[in-house]
């Protein structure tokens, strides 16, 4: 009798567990819901080279857009810079696409070739400022299939940063102007105990240096022959690669630098560990914060035996996703970001070179520190080198194959010729399959 009684009430007793779980779920769900803001239209903007100061500037430019378009609200998502590539790729693959996105040159081919981006050509045709853009802007924006899938907001051109204090200590009076001088100066500085001549970027993002040294020795930045096969196996490229490898192997760069990424070389520079880096104007922001103006200088990038210099030029800009629902509004946002006042404010903050022909006269760029870059741009022997970012396989090549193989070269596991052959194989396949 007692047992059947218990049997009946047993089913009731199971409820407390369920009740608790439901209550918990309700509480947590309540906490998870965030309040939504009423707005007629919401545009989603994603930035990928995030940093706190930058986001502030972006917000201020976006505010002018919102004021000009009262019933539009712009929702800014700032992806942490380190994993931004993976994060954006995951979002896009799952269908969570923004309206406007910041698009670096190295990613453009991946998104544009797959039809994810909207062509900006129709909008550019009617935009009043299109004629004021300098020639390079549209040329580079049209890198993929000769269609403007992005509108660049600025350019990144390499120049030579050098540490005046270390130079003085090593008895070097002027920055090197040629490849041979570069190696000689590195050697001199490396003779100082615990100091090195060059901050090598052996890890992520080091592809620019390899291309630059290779092209310098090669005397030309032509990457492919007419039939689409890679030129990397030419003696000139190989000489450049092995010169750079020798700099590391001779101890002119810190042993650690085989793993170094962007932040490591900048830290190496401003901590006075190594005397020279090659980098873009935006590195100036980090360096100026940590070093006094008298301690460092910036010179045009070195020239090779052919008398020519090949600093890499990169660019980032704004793109529109093809599946966006508010394309006209998205264009208006891009136009504001890249418009004449917006773009200048932006570049002042991020330190890129301007897209407008007239902007070169802006007082910002008259600063002595920018002189090196403008000298480069006006020097006929300086050929800004555009890497083959229009190839879909470039992203994998630059982010994975180059670090791995170049590290093998630096560590003496393979020779420069072998590395060049591996690179040529990948590049030829990439170029020929893209035709």
């Amino acid at each position: 009798m007692g047992r059947s009684e218990c049997g009946h009430s047993r089913q009731f007793e199971a409820n407390p567990l369920v009740k608790t779980a439901l209550w918990l779920a309700a509480t947590v769900l309540g906490l998870g819901l965030s309040p939504s803001v009423e707005a007629a239209t919401t545009l989603k903007l994603v930035e990928v080279i995030t940093s706190p100061e930058r986001t502030e500037t972006l917000k201020s430019i976006v505010k002018t857009f919102e004021e000009a378009n009262p019933d539009v609200r712009v929702e800014i998502t700032s992806l942490p810079w380190g994993p931004s590539f993976e994060k954006l790729a995951t979002m896009v693959a799952a269908g969570d696409t923004p309206d406007v996105v910041e698009m670096p040159d190295v990613w453009l081919a991946l998104y544009a070739n797959n039809g994810a981006l909207e062509s900006l050509e129709p909008y550019l045709r009617t935009w009043p400022h299109t004629g004021e853009l300098n020639q390079r802007t549209l040329q580079l924006g049209r890198a993929v299939r000769s269609t403007a899938y992005m509108l660049p907001y600025g350019f990144y051109l390499r120049a030579l940063y050098y540490n005046k204090k270390l130079f003085a200590a090593a008895g070097v009076s002027t920055p090197p102007r040629t490849l041979d001088e570069f190696v000689a100066v590195s050697k001199k500085v490396s003779n100082l105990p615990g100091k090195y001549g060059y901050c090598l970027r052996g890890g992520a993002g080091g592809v620019n240096a390899w291309m630059m040294f290779g092209a310098l020795a090669n005397g030309s930045d032509v990457f492919f022959k007419a039939d689409g096969s890679s030129t990397f196996t030419d003696a000139g490229w190989i000489k450049g690669f092995s010169t750079l490898a020798d700099i590391y192997r001779s101890g002119f760069a810190p042993k650690d630098s085989v793993n170094w990424g962007y932040n490591d070389i900048i830290a190496g520079f401003y901590s006075g560990t190594c005397a020279m880096i090659e980098n873009d104007p935006d590195a100036l922001i980090a360096i100026a914060e940590r070093m006094k103006p008298a301690e460092y200088g910036i010179a045009p990038w070195i020239k090779g035996p052919s008398g020519k210099s090949f600093p890499t030029i990169g660019y980032t800009g704004w793109s529109m996703f093809a599946n966006g629902k508010h394309k006209n509004l998205a264009w208006k946002l891009i136009a504001t970001l890249d418009g004449v006042p917006g773009n200048l404010v932006w570049n002042r903050r991020i330190g890129a070179l301007p897209i407008y022909t007239a902007a070169a006269k802006d007082p910002l760029y008259a600063d002595a520190r920018f002189k090196a870059w403008f000298d480069e741009l006006s020097d006929p022997d300086v050929v800004p080198m555009v890497m083959p970012v229009d190839l879909r396989a470039w992203a994998l090549f630059a982010s994975s194959i180059v670090p791995r193989t170049s590290q093998s070269l630096l560590l003496g596991q393979i020779t420069a010729t072998e590395m060049a052959q591996q690179w040529a194989q990948v590049m030829t396949k990439a170029k020929q399959s893209q035709k």
Binding site: G7, S9, R10, N259, P403, R404, L411, Q413
Partner: protein
């Protein structure tokens, strides 16, 4: 209770069946929430993820997705990067788990006795487990960096290394960095679980043994180890599986380099998935890893059953 009493008396058959159902359903009721959650949130994505291994999935190419059968596995068989990663995984997992276990067990044995300050010592040595792995990697990378960390200088002064270079930059020694970091982080796990198991061994067993004249080591071998063995098997199994699939420390400290000398299968999967954007191939590697770990799990579990049987 009163009404229930009456009802059950008037409907004995129904409540008997109901009771049997209730008894039969009981275990399922208790385990249902976990089962439902795991199936819905983990097994469904897992099956989807595994299915990618048989298809061509390029992350950013919406037109990919065709069925390719065993192509990925064929490619995997010839992939030297995978073989290298597998070799590194064995070293990484073996060294990390073995050393965490040994040091964790020693710590557990030390903490198994009452002594003044034991509570404080216990609290302090378990702290590393509370640190997020990203921070652990960063902290140890910092410690090994000759510019900002003390270790290269000390190792050189102790004549353990020939120079004050960063051992993370040398392919021969690079894996040591993440291994040490994982030992630091993982000792508390084994210390806690072993301590708990040790505490459940009745003390009179040891008393009887020492009366019989058995030495400390003999007691350890004949009492502690056998009684500990089933717990050890499970914790070692779980920890091995976690370490094998866990690339966080390596990615933060060396990013798989230099020259892939610290690339393990888990970080290789990440590279293939998010640099080559080839989710199909990455899934096939993950599937192979899954099979290898499953075989390993079966082996450990059979060993455990053997030990439990031998005990009783």
């Amino acid at each position: 209770m009163g009404t229930g009493h009456d009802q059950s008396e008037t409907e004995p058959e129904v409540s008997a069946i109901g009771r049997r159902l209730a008894i039969g359903a009981e275990p399922y009721l208790y385990t249902a929430p976990v089962l439902i959650l795991i199936v819905a949130v983990m097994l469904v994505p897992l099956s989807v993820g595994l299915s990618y291994a048989f298809r061509d999935i390029q992350l950013l190419d919406p037109y990919s997705g065709g069925f390719v059968g065993f192509d990925h596995f064929r490619e995997l068989r010839a992939d030297s990067n995978f073989r290298g990663a597998l070799f590194n995984t064995l070293i990484w997992t073996g060294a990390s788990v073995a050393l965490q276990f040994i040091f964790g067990l020693i710590l557990a044995l030390l903490l198994n006795r009452e002594f003044p300050g034991r509570r404080l010592a216990q609290a302090l040595v378990f702290l590393p487990w509370a640190v997020p792995t990203f921070l652990v990697g960063l902290d140890w990378a910092w410690l090994f960096n000759p510019v900002v960390g003390p270790l290269p200088g000390w190792l050189f002064a102790l004549k353990i290394t020939h120079d004050t270079n960063n051992l993370l930059a040398d392919p021969g020694t690079a894996l040591i960095g993440p291994i040490v970091a994982s030992i630091w982080w993982g000792i508390p796990f084994f210390a806690i679980t072993n301590l708990a198991a040790l505490q459940s061994i009745p003390k009179d067993l040891y008393e009887a043994a020492s009366i019989d004249g058995a030495s400390v080591f003999k007691q350890f071998r004949s009492i502690t180890l056998p009684l500990l063995a089933p717990t050890l098997a499970i914790t070692i199994l779980l920890r091995t599986v976690w370490v094998a699939t866990f690339a966080d420390l390596i990615v933060v400290m060396t990013n798989g380099g230099p020259a892939d000398s610290t690339q393990i299968v888990a970080s290789y999967i990440f590279t293939v998935a998010f640099r080559r954007l080839d989710f199909g191939y990455a899934s096939s590697i993950a599937a192979v890893l899954l099979i290898l770990l499953f075989i390993y799990a079966l082996a450990i579990l059979s060993l455990r059953r053997l030990l439990v049987q031998r005990q009783s």
